[in-house]
């Protein structure tokens, strides 16, 4: 069983300052829950940029490759047909389908990976210890560990930044 401190805020700006100062004091911020994305939170929390764009690129290239191969193999190799006198390897005519398959693969992969990497899947259960974090409250979770400030100091800091409540809980 581990313990953590939960602080609830109603102002996103106050939350940012609290996160920044708590980290300065040596706290480990395990999570921040919010009803909407808070700009600047990534930086104060030290979250690195997502590598999702690389997935999108890779999938797009795979889609492009698949589309190109599909069109060339069916139209120039397997059963070439004379359509309007066009050459069998009619690259300009193949471009629209190549483009669409690129976008389709990239889009589907982006969708699958953003959910997968975030651990989201249909029917996944969630137990929010602060239910209003999907409504109008922000929750800051600090794991208890060696070297972190005392409860008094931490609560003082959080309340000083406008936390509506501070409490400890097991998880």
């Amino acid at each position: 069983m581990s313990r953590r401190t939960v602080a609830v805020f109603e102002d996103d700006h106050a939350l940012l300052l609290a996160v920044r100062d708590a980290r300065k004091l040596g706290c480990e911020i395990s999570e921040v829950l919010s009803p909407h994305p808070v700009h600047g939170l990534d930086d104060v929390m030290g979250i690195r940029k997502s590598r999702l764009p690389w997935v999108t690129l890779a999938a797009g290239l795979a889609g492009l490759g698949l589309g190109t191969w599909l069109e060339y193999w069916t139209s120039a190799t397997d059963w070439p047909l004379n359509v309007g006198g066009k050459p069998f390897d009619s690259f300009p005519a193949f471009v629209p389908v190549m483009f669409e398959l690129t976008v389709l693969a990239a889009g589907v992969a982006t969708f699958v990976f953003v959910l997968g990497r975030s651990g989201l899947r249909p029917g996944k259960a969630v137990a929010l210890s602060e239910p209003r974090t999907t409504d109008d409250r922000f929750a800051l979770y600090i794991n208890h560990k060696e070297g972190m400030p005392s409860k008094l100091e931490l609560h003082g800091l959080l309340r000083g930044h406008g936390a509506l409540s501070c409490r400890e809980e097991d998880f």
């Binding site: 300052l17 829950l33 066009k86 629209p96 669409e100 982006t110 996944k124 259960a125 969630v126 209003r132």
Partner: protein, 471 residues
């Protein structure tokens, strides 16, 4: 955006966006808090719909059923139940197809392009607009399928190994490019829309209980609003927006090549791809505005869909409408400058031939009517704006009708010239498409949050007494 770097001085000083400048009219009015947004948007869904919703639903469903009956009869009996003939091989079917694909484009523009351009005013309308796109593409997709002589063989448009050779599809045909373009457009739009819904479904889930909570919980995918998740999520939204933007341009360009790659006079023009894409944005925005004006009144969303939003949409409409007008002039100029008699005749036929009435409806609704939106007084009059948006859609339907039918009725060989009269079956099918669209849209309004709650919360003006909001 989460990827911008913020230094601590800015964080301390209370960095603020444009919304907190003194004197500027806020994007969301009424001094609303985040909790207000949740209650205003989720409340009607939880309370259940009113008599007005049921009345509208009954009308839409009736129209849909008429369409279903007409379509069933037409598939069972044959395309002869339509008014097509050997000369005029496409009419209402393809007019409606292009019309609905065009309507869908505004949704993607609002959610994708305006996201990339950081236009905050899109946050009140993007969810409904994207839903409109999905429903419009569904309506559009019906027509190419039913206009096939043997729609039960529609699966033959997909390239798969088969016992006919293997006979592959013709990748060089715009009609096949349509399959991939519309298919991709529908899939990507659906995924983008659903991804955008997930945080709001979580909000609804956390307010619900019992079976509703279980169902919402299933579709909310365990969303908890964690910062790392939001970070990845915002990146995904920008990526999908960046994919959807060229996609939307490509889709209607591909649809336009159904005509442009032919040699029918009046069709064989290189201006078609940009002309069609801009026309799609034009008609799509008009449809979004029509629906938003209704929704705003019925759902009491005046604080979310404000005059600022309406003015912005009107400006897009007048801008794109002017470009459509420019495209008409370009077509006329090209026909004259080319010296090609057939092309010149095609336009003379449109302007003073037997179907000139359709051309002039198109011209007045698309070129003249939207010009009134240059005037602030007109933009401020919701009744005038509503009427203008309806007329724009009438005009854009007629544009596709004029392009398709007038060019086909009289092309190269006068002995082949023929007229065209629609049948009741075609009219019923068209009515059915509108019925499908509105039925789906009403179901959407009933069960899902029409306004993107979490995005609106990011553009709320800061409450009095707090530091500048950090956007």
């Amino acid at each position: 955006m989460t990827t911008t770097s913020i230094n601590t001085e800015r964080v301390e000083a209370g960095a603020h966006g444009a919304d907190s400048h003194a004197g500027e009219i806020p994007l969301i009015t009424g001094g609303l808090t985040r909790a207000d947004v949740t209650n205003n948007v989720a409340g009607p869904i939880e309370k259940g719909m009113t008599g007005r919703w049921w009345a509208a639903f009954a009308v839409a469903l009736t129209a849909l059923l008429i369409g279903v009956v007409c379509t069933w009869y037409q598939i069972r009996t044959g395309i002869g139940t339509w008014g097509l003939n050997r000369t005029v091989g496409w009419a209402f079917d393809i007019t409606n197809f292009v019309f609905w694909v065009g309507i869908g484009h505004a949704g993607t523009l609002i959610s994708a392009v305006l996201l990339l351009l950081r236009q905050k005013w899109r946050t009140s309308i993007n969810r409904s607009a994207e839903a409109m796109t999905i429903f419009a593409v569904m309506c559009a997709g019906i027509f190419p399928v039913i206009h096939m002589g043997r729609p039960w063989l529609a699966h033959w448009v997909f390239p798969f190994p088969n016992t006919r050779g293997t006979l592959w599809v013709n990748f060089r045909s715009p009609l096949l490019w349509d399959v991939f373009a519309i298919g991709t457009y529908f899939t990507v739009s659906l995924l983008f829309w659903y991804l955008g819904l997930i945080p709001d479904l979580a909000t609804l889930r956390d307010r619900a209980s019992g079976l509703r909570k279980k169902i919402l919980g299933f579709f909310a995918m365990g969303w908890n609003g964690a910062a790392r998740t939001w970070s990845r999520y915002e990146t995904a939204c920008v990526l999908l927006a960046a994919l959807a933007t060229p996609l939307v341009v490509s889709v209607h360009s591909v649809v336009s090549t159904d005509f442009a790659t032919s040699f029918v006079p009046g069709w064989h023009a290189t201006v078609f791809p940009p002309y069609f894409v801009i026309g799609a944005v034009f008609s799509g925005f008009a449809m979004v505005l029509t629906l938003m004006l209704i929704a705003r009144g019925v759902m009491r969303f005046e604080n979310y869909i404000t005059m600022k939003h309406i003015h912005a949409m009107c400006k897009v409409i007048v801008f794109t409408g002017s470009i459509v007008g420019l495209a008409y002039i370009t077509e006329l100029f090209t026909a004259w400058w080319s010296g090609v008699g057939y092309e010149q005749f095609a336009f003379k036929n449109r302007m003073y031939g037997p179907m000139a009435w359709a051309y002039w409806i198109m011209f007045s609704c698309n070129v003249i009517v939207p010009q009134f939106l240059w005037f602030r007084k007109v933009r401020n009059s919701l009744g005038a704006v509503f009427l203008i948006t309806l007329l724009v859609n009438v005009g854009m339907w007629f544009e596709r009708f004029v392009i398709i039918v007038t060019s086909l009725t009289r092309d190269y060989l006068p002995s082949s010239w023929a007229g065209y009269t629609p049948t009741w079956i075609e009219g019923g099918t068209m009515l059915g498409a509108f019925g499908l669209f509105f039925t789906l849209f009403l179901i959407f309004c009933r069960f899902l949050p029409m306004i993107c709650m979490f995005e609106v919360k990011t553009v709320l003006p800061p409450a009095k007494g707090t530091k500048g909001g950090h956007h």
